[in-house]
Each structure stands twice: as structure tokens, then as C-alpha cells.
């Protein structure tokens, strides 16, 4: 358990600036997820924390100590990689004990720790196998175990689950969560899967282009994304966006679609003071739309339904709102006829409105 503090970090590769004056404070025992599209610099940041990359400027503090120039092994961190990065010629036991041997830990101590870690991760029967003889999930468990035995304060995960299939991903996700509860260590977890981010994180840092866009709890990020990028990136199927203009008139705030339809925004809490006639984007999540009216303050949204996608527990209905593609999530048991033009309903207080030009939340 230790705090991690990243101060004014900059990282360049040659002429490419990958991280730009990045600051991040992580509390003791916190589970931080770095979420962002490919190439946004997540791994770069993680590698810098691990000491596997030289930083161009800035400092990294772990547990109150400036470790900017320390060797990786001296930073009290453990790291788990997407590709597992198990040592292929060593048995599972060898993989687990390699780090300890490097640190000249006494033999019995190694035994003890390997036993403990393999118990926690339920890989005891696998200890004498080679990595090639393990399934994907087992490999990932061993990779986690390798960090575990070293009794580190900070765990770094770089997309640890993205090579696994959906089923295993769910399983191991739960396991990592459990582990965090059990150990209480600080964890930094990189992913571009928003389900993982939402389920695991205490706080999520959504990154794009080397900059942290929003750092907040999963709930906050899901409900009140600070800009269009975050809104679009988090959530699957992703938020629907419809362009239009704001209309501030006697009826209160309104949103005018390109086809002239006016949607009432009654109940929406603006972040600042919106300007009349401002070009804006309305964002509504698929599950925030109902095809039947459930509450009175709901706004009507005319929608052309084109296709139904059953996904087991629920179904997606695809359609168009004022020419823009739009999806609605309904219960898997329900059925709607397509194609059809119907009125849907959404609650403005749950939706998001962004400035069209800057993408910032209004």
C-alpha cells in the first residue's frame, strides 16, 4: 500500500510528445483505471511508473519517495502484462520465484510466498507445468501471481485481460476485484474496455492523446461525462449523439433538431450558462430511452426504428433520429416491430449536452 504521485510528467519518443505535462495523484489502496483508445499513452504512462521508460521531464513518487531515477525493482511495484510475458522456459514455480531469487530471498521464504500466492490464485496444481501447458486464464493468473509473491505496494496491470475470451474475462475480472479487496494494495490498471473500467475502478482516468480528459468515479464518468469524447468512449453500446441547436426561450431550455423538432430540456442541469442558438450535441445512452412513457417529465423523441438486435438478456433496437443513427436498449423479453416510426421518451436530467465545437459539457 502506497500512494503514487505523478508530477508534471512528460514523455517524448524522438519528436513525438506522447505524454504532455500529466499530473495524477493516487491514494493508498486506491484502484485507478486508465481508460482510453489505442495509442493514447496508457502503456507509456504505466511503463514510466514502473521505471521501464526514461521520462523526459517530471517526477514520479511512490509511497512518498521520489523514484524517478530508481530501477524498476526498487520501486516496490509489480506489473502484469497483456501478453502475460511468462518466462517460457521456466515452470510456473520458476516464474513465481524468479523475482524473489533475484532479490536473494531465503529459500524457505520463497517457498512460503509461492505457496501463499498460488493458493490465493488457485494455481497450486499447476506449479510444475510450463507456461505453454496452461490455458489463457491460467497464464494470466500466473502472471498476477508473479507480482503477488513480491509483496509489492503497487500493482500495475497493462490490459491484463484483453487476450482472454469474454467468459474468462468476466471470471478474472471478479478475481482481480477480490484480490484488491483482500490485499488492499494500490492498483493501476490499463484497459480500453469500459466494462472492466466501470466494474473495477475506484476512479477512472479517461485518457486521450496523452492527456487525462476526466478523472472521476465510474458513476460520475458514466453519468456526467465532461466532454463528448468521454461520453462516447464509455458505455457499450455507446451513447447516441444528435446534433442540433440550443434554444433558450420562454418554455425554458430546448434543443432543436436539424429537422426542426424541438425537444424540451426541462430538468437538465447546465454546467454553465448556455447561449441561445449555440450549436450543440445531445447525448443519450441507449438504456436511457424508453419506448413506452414511464415518467411524466420525460421528453418525447420521435424515432424511426429499423432493426432489432436480440442479445439474450436484452435487445438493441436500431433506428434514426433526425437522420442520425440511434440505438435503444430494451428488455430481452420485449418485442418491437421494425421498421416503424414511434415516439420514444427520455429524461433530460439523465442526458448530456455538449458544445458542438469544443465537445465540452454544457
Amino acid at each position: 500500500m502506497a500512494t503514487v504521485s505523478i508530477r508534471d510528467l512528460e514523455i517524448d519518443f524522438g519528436t513525438i510528445k506522447v505524454l504532455k505535462t500529466l499530473n495524477l495523484e493516487i491514494g493508498e489502496g486506491e484502484f485507478i483505471v486508465l481508460l482510453g483508445p489505442s495509442g493514447c499513452g496508457k502503456s507509456t504512462l504505466l511503463n514510466a511508473v514502473a521505471g521501464l521508460l526514461d521520462v523526459t521531464a517530471g517526477q514520479i513518487w511512490i509511497g512518498g519517495k521520489n523514484v524517478t531515477w530508481e530501477e524498476p525493482k526498487d520501486r516496490g511495484i509489480g506489473m502484469v502484462f497483456q501478453s502475460y510475458a511468462l518466462y517460457p522456459r521456466m515452470s510456473v514455480r520458476g516464474n513465481l520465484s524468479f523475482g524473489l531469487k533475484m532479490a536473494r530471498t531465503p529459500h524457505e521464504e520463497i517457498e512460503k510466498r509461492v505457496a501463499k500466492a498460488s493458493k490465493i490464485l488457485q494455481i497450486e496444481p499447476l506449479l510444475d507445468r510450463k507456461p505453454a501447458e496452461l490455458s489463457g486464464g491460467q497464464r494470466q493468473r500466473v502472471a498476477i501471481g508473479r507480482a503477488l509473491v513480491r509483496d509489492v505496494d503497487v500493482f500495475l496491470f497493462d490490459e491484463p485481460l484483453s487476450n482472454l475470451d469474454a467468459k474468462l474475462r468476466t471470471e478474472l475480472r471478479v478475481e482481480i476485484k477480490r484480490l484488491h479487496h483482500e490485499l488492499g494494495s494500490t492498483m493501476i490498471y490499463v484497459t480500453h474496455d469500459q466494462i472492466e473500467a466501470l466494474t473495477l475502478a475506484d476512479r477512472i482516468a479517461v485518457m486521450n492523446g496523452g492527456v487525462i480528459q476526466q478523472l472521476a468515479s465510474p458513476k460520475e464518468i458514466y453519468r456526467r461525462p465532461v466532454n463528448r469524447f468521454v461520453a462516447g468512449f464509455v458505455g457499450s453500446p455507446s451513447m447516441n449523439f444528435v446534433d442540433g441547436t440550443l434554444k433558450m426561450d420562454a418554455d425554458g431550455a430546448g434543443f432543436v433538431l436539424s429537422d426542426g423538432t424541438r425537444l424540451s430540456l426541462a430538468g437538465y442541469e447546465f454546467a454553465g450558462t448556455p447561449k441561445d442558438g449555440q450549436a450543440a450535441t445531445l447525448g443519450i445512452r441507449p438504456e436511457q430511452v424508453d419506448l413506452v412513457k414511464t415518467s411524466d417529465d420525460a421528453t418525447v423523441l420521435p424515432i424511426k426504428l429499423t432493426m432489432l438486435e436480440p442479445m439474450g438478456a436484452d435487445s438493441l433496437v436500431w433506428g434514426h433520429v433526425s437522420g442520425t443513427q440511434f440505438s435503444v436498449r430494451i428488455d430481452g423479453e420485449d418485442h418491437v416491430a421494425t421498421p416503424a416510426t414511434v415516439d420514444a421518451f427520455f429524461s433530460p436530467s439523465q442526458s448530456s449536452i455538449f458544445d458542438k465545437a469544443s465537445g465540452a459539457r454544457l
Partner: protein, 303 residues
């Protein structure tokens, strides 16, 4: 009424199960090409073997492709046991053990140094490493012979001229460019995460090399071994210049038997001696040819 009776001619079986195998022209052509190519590659070997089994009287007739009329293995025995080079008439077997004694440390050390250099160049950073690599590769293109005079001078000033150490160092020097290239490319093709994981685990330069990288290098080591065994075993010039007169390799005997300018030339013995001398690399090829192809895929091709 139109009864769907089948006429006798169209009783072709309804397609079912595996496609009937037909020997297509393509396939035949393919084998013809392979066989012709194989003949081209085997022709010199055939001539050598046939010649080595003929008595000299038949060889003088000049029918190089004909099978021996009087088969004899005398040339083989002579080549191995009693062919003379100067006053020593022990055949080429004399140099065999010398060759082995040169081969083993030279192969091991040259590969080791190459692997180490390739490892350092691919995974670690050092100032000037690019320049080092460039000069190394450039050096690979110079004719060996130019190096001899300066090397003799350097060795004798260091005191390893004419010793086993001298010849091992020489093979290491001349093997270094290719070995470094092979290993550098191989290590660069491994997932970099493996290296990172080991760094996080506290592995230092040497620990990662010995405990992680070397055990993983089998495919490329096989390629390296094949190339080095062939090169070092067939070497004549360095062996004779640098190894000292106690350590002359087998190729010196071969050369003495084959390349005498004056006096009779026993072609049958020459051929037998050549094949005998080539046995070690040939065996290495026969045994590990399959891995060679695989290993090359692992190391050489990737830039």
C-alpha cells in the same frame, strides 16, 4: 412417361466423400523439377563418390560419370589412415581431433559473444552501439585475407600467436558480425514485455541474459551452430596461420593431400579425403536441417 432411367453411360458416381485423387500434370511437373534440381545438386557428389571408389588406372581414362569397374575402398582407407603429408603418413585422421579441439571452443565462444553482443544491442541502450554495429557489419564484407598481417602482429604482441587461444579468438572475430546480426534480430523479435517483466522482477543485465534469454534462444542457437560449425570446420587459412603447429586442423591435411603441386595426384584419395573431411558439417546438416529452416525464420529474416 418420362421415367428417370439412367442411361448406362452416365453412371458416374454421385460425388461423395473425398475428392478422387488424380495425378495432375502440375504435380508431375513439380516432381520432375525437384528431381532435376536434386540431380544438379547431387552431380558433383556423385562424381566425387564414384571417383573415390575407382582405382587410379580407371580415373586416368577420364570417364568421370561411369561407375567403377573394379570397386575399391582402398582410397578411403588411404585417405583416412595413411595418406602422407610431408613425412607424416597418418592420413587425415591426424587432424581430426585437432579440428574438434578447435571447433568446440570456437563455436561456443563465438556464439556466446555474438549472443551477448546481440542481446546488449537489441534490448539495452549504450552510447555508440549503433556505430559499433555498423562497423561490425561493414567488416563482414572485407576479404578475410586482408586481416592476416595485422592480426599476426597484434596476436604476437599479446602473446597468443600460434596458440589455441589465437585460433579461437580469430574465429570469434570473424564470426561476430553474422552472429551478432542473428541474435540481435532474434531478440528484437521476442515480445518486449518479457524483458520488461524481468526488469520489474529485479533481473539485471546478466541475470536476464543467462536465465531468461539464453534458454529461450534454442532456435537461433541451432542456426548459429550450423553456420559456425560449417565455417570453422571448413576453415583452412586461419587454422594454419594462427593455430600453431601443434593444432593444425584437418583441412590442413586435406589441403596437403589435395593441393600438392608436384608429384602424383591421387584423385580417388583426394575425393575420399574431401568427403571424409566434410562429414562433420554434413552430419550436422542432416541432423538439424529441419530446425535450420525454422530457426532462420526466427532470426534472420526480420529486419
Amino acid at each position: 412417361m418420362a421415367t428417370a432411367t439412367m442411361t448406362a453411360g452416365s453412371t458416374a458416381p454421385e460425388p461423395s466423400g473425398p475428392r478422387p485423387k488424380r495425378l495432375t500434370a502440375d504435380r508431375v511437373g513439380l516432381y520432375v523439377f525437384l528431381v532435376i534440381a536434386a540431380a544438379f545438386f547431387l552431380l558433383p557428389m556423385y562424381v566425387m563418390i564414384v571417383t573415390s571408389l575407382k582405382p587410379m588406372s580407371e580415373i586416368r581414362l577420364g570417364n568421370i560419370f561411369s561407375l567403377p569397374e573394379a570397386w575399391t575402398i582402398e582410397p578411403w582407407l588411404q585417405a583416412w589412415n595413411s595418406a602422407c603429408t610431408g613425412l607424416n603418413c597418418g592420413g587425415i585422421k591426424v587432424g581430426f581431433w585437432n579440428s574438434i579441439r578447435i571447433l568446440v571452443p570456437s563455436v561456443i565462444i563465438s556464439i556466446f559473444v555474438g549472443a551477448l553482443t546481440g542481446y546488449a544491442l537489441s534490448l539495452w541502450r549504450a552510447r555508440g552501439s549503433n556505430l559499433l554495429f555498423a562497423v561490425l557489419l561493414l567488416g563482414a564484407f572485407l576479404p578475410y585475407q586482408v586481416f592476416i598481417y595485422p592480426l599476426v602482429r597484434i596476436y604476437s604482441s599479446v602473446g597468443i600467436y600460434g596458440t589455441m587461444a589465437g585460433i579461437v579468438v580469430t574465429h570469434t572475430i570473424f564470426g561476430l558480425p553474422l552472429m551478432t546480426l542473428l541474435f540481435r534480430n532474434y531478440y528484437a523479435s521476442l515480445p518486449i514485455e518479457l524483458f520488461k517483466a524481468a526488469r520489474v522482477d529485479g533481473g539485471g543485465f546478466w541475470a536476464i541474459f543467462f536465465r531468461l534469454m539464453l534458454p529461450m534462444s534454442t532456435p537461433i542457437i541451432i542456426v548459429a551452430v550450423i553456420l559456425q560449425v560449417t565455417g570453422i570446420w571448413n576453415d583452412f587459412l586461419f587454422g594454419v596461420v594462427f593455430a600453431g603447429r601443434e593444432n593444425l586442423p584437418m583441412t590442413v591435411q586435406l589441403n596437403n593431400i589435395v593441393n600438392s603441386t608436384q608429384g602424383e595426384k591421387l584423385y580417388n584419395v583426394n575425393m575420399a579425403a574431401t568427403i571424409l573431411t566434410a562429414l562433420v558439417p554434413l552430419v550436422v546438416y542432416f541432423v538439424s536441417g529441419r530446425w535450420f529452416v525454422r530457426g532462420i525464420a526466427a532470426g534472420a529474416v526480420k529486419g
